[in-house]
């Protein structure tokens, strides 16, 4: 099923013409409303009329996460504050979070794009859908929520946590679909098995999984343990939230809603655009966004755009391959973005800790765990004569990390000189999660 047949099956020529027209309007809009972009375009000697077709996009400057941070909180917002009806925030690399404001029209387009995703997964207005992404500043919960309502299904805003109660609701309400991270889906399967609930006892048939990288093996495992079809859902808050791309019934790449989010793949080192089929960094330009439009935003996600626009589902929108890596050092832990630099800034602020650390990420019972090892400064131990000096420090570090990362970390204090001196760069992350 296709939610918006007119848009989603448009001929490539029509689509390109529309994208070119929208891009011109978008550049004109940011030129007149965002001093940051006006300055950047003027530095390149560009005026909005230089951007006429979608091919002209290569003339435009890139936008990075650093630009968002430098312009915290509202520097990149184009719409007046009176037009903003929603604000989300995601973690920044250090200090400042990324703030994204949405106008009423942005929220409507978000719901429209999310409705396209859910319809492609086979959801209809007759279905009950559990949204088990976190509700709150994170875009996952509300993003999926509005999509389900747009299609006309019944939302169960389960959010995260209290897995046993959630499983009872899935069984007792005969819930048809679930949106969550793939690792949470595996955790659900595990708890369900422990409770003695068989997959035949539940009616789940659709899984909308995203917010972290996953693999074909994980898909097969989730599908067989929960008895549903597992579909990819991709998005990022800077661009919109979940809804940017989605798998159709063919499950061979995720169709990008490219009438709203124009994708490019670039070489992350040379910044040269790469052709279809080439692996590189995914870049998006918002074509219709009002609140915080972005030109050529570097997502840091590594993937490719699949060659050929002849998906058997009938959609003409380009497909992206699964995201399998990052061109920066961001870690995704239980769906939450964590940068080693955030950990570093916490540790530098604690005088008892030496500026050396090691992050170990693992997956235990299908849930991500983060262990932070940090060295104690020898001076701090002078005068101490019991283990409390060490365990108290571990508690203090864990508390500070929790408040900055929103992730619970297990902290291990290491004796002086036991970690490599790796502050700034070098090997400070060990990711033991196996994605195969």
């Amino acid at each position: 099923m296709i939610w918006n047949e007119h848009k989603e099956t448009m001929s490539r020529d029509e689509l390109s013409a529309m994208q070119g027209h929208r891009l011109h309007k978008m550049v004109d809009y940011v030129y007149h409303n965002v001093p940051f972009y006006r300055k950047k375009l003027q530095e390149l000697d560009l005026i909005p009329d230089d951007i006429r077709t979608i091919e002209d996009i290569v003339k435009l400057p890139y936008t990075t996460k650093q630009d968002l941070r430098d312009n915290y909180p509202y520097g990149l917002q184009a719409a007046p504050q009176s037009e903003i009806i929603r604000i989300h925030a995601s973690s920044g690399t250090t200090g400042n979070p990324t703030i994204v404001g949405y106008t009423r029209r942005d929220v409507e387009i978000w719901a429209e794009c999310m409705a396209r995703c859910l319809t492609a997964y086979g959801m209809t207005r007759d279905d009950t859908f559990s949204v088990s992404y976190g509700y709150g500043l994170f875009t996952g919960g509300l993003g999926a929520h509005y999509g389900v309502e747009k299609v006309g299904g019944a939302v169960v805003p389960a959010s995260t946590g209290n897995t046993e109660k959630h499983i009872r609701l899935i069984r007792d309400l005969g819930i048809d679909g679930i949106a969550c991270t793939p690792s949470y889906a595996l955790h659900l399967a595990e708890v369900m098995e422990n409770l003695g609930i068989d997959k035949k006892d539940i009616k789940l048939r659709i899984g909308a999984f995203g917010a972290e990288p996953w693999t074909e093996n994980m898909r097969q495992e989730i599908e067989s343990r929960l008895g549903l079809k597992a579909y990819n859902l991709y998005g990022l808050s800077e661009i919109m939230g979940p809804c940017v791309s989605f798998e159709c019934e063919c499950q061979s790449g995720s169709h990008i809603n490219e009438d709203h989010f124009y994708p490019e793949i670039i070489d992350p080192n040379t910044l040269e655009p790469l052709g279809r089929g080439k692996q590189g960094e995914l870049v998006f330009t918002t074509l219709t966004k009002q609140g915080m439009p972005l030109l050529r935003y570097r997502t840091r996600d590594l993937c490719s755009l699949i060659e050929g626009d002849d998906c058997p589902c009938g959609r003409t929108m380009v497909r992206m391959s699964p995201v399998m890596g990052r061109s920066d050092d961001m870690l995704i832990i239980r769906g939450i973005n964590v940068f080693p630099s955030q950990v570093e800034s916490v540790i530098l602020d604690i005088p008892e800790c030496a500026p050396r650390y090691l992050l170990i990420v693992d997956r235990v019972d299908n849930l991500d765990t983060l262990t932070v090892q940090v060295e104690m400064r020898p001076e701090y131990f002078a005068g101490a004569d019991n283990i409390d000096a060490i365990t108290d420090l571990a508690k203090k570090v864990a508390f500070k990390l929790r408040s900055v990362l929103s992730v619970n970390a297990l902290v291990k204090i290491r004796q002086p000189g036991s970690l490599e001196r790796s502050m700034g760069k070098g090997k400070y992350v060990i990711d033991n999660r196996i994605l195969k």
Binding site: P378, D385, I387, I390, I413, Q415
Partner: protein, 142 residues
């Protein structure tokens, strides 16, 4: 009336203790008594040694998480019940012991411990007729 003890934070990991002992060897420090207490991840090694102040400075210079502490050492005659007498003096005063270990010195037993109030503990032990060991009692043995 107390003696010096080194307390050192070492990880529960192969090689950490020997590394510490080799550093003491390098400094020409002789061990008299030692004990290790541990949790799952962390350990504290406590050492009575020759020239404790010099040993402390040496380890600190080498970047070791070391602390120089005061502990009480009591000499016990070689007969049953002497440890009970010594500890009894402390408990009568309402003092509690954080940790305790023992070693032999010239045929006599020595109890080493730290209490929640070493000043009061020393007074109580002296009043109770217990023999406190001083640092000079140890060094002439070496």
């Amino acid at each position: 009336m107390t003696i010096h003890q080194l307390s050192i934070f070492i990880e529960n990991k192969a090689g950490t203790l020997v590394a510490l002992l080799r550093q003491l060897k390098e400094a020409g420090i002789q061990l008299i008594a030692s004990t290790i207490s541990d949790t799952v991840d962390y350990g504290i090694c406590r050492i009575i040694c020759s020239e404790p102040v010099r040993a402390y400075e040496f380890l600190k210079e080498a970047g070791v998480a070391v602390s120089l502490c005061e502990v009480i050492a009591v000499e016990l005659d070689d007969e049953p019940g002497r440890a009970a007498d010594a500890i009894g003096v402390l408990s009568d005063e309402g003092l509690s012991i954080a940790y305790l270990y023992s070693f032999l010195l010239g045929g006599k037993g020595v109890l080493v411990f730290r209490t929640n109030d070493n000043v009061r503990a020393v007074e109580a032990l002296q009043k109770g007729g217990q023999k406190l060991i001083l640092e000079k009692d140890l060094s002439h043995l070496l």
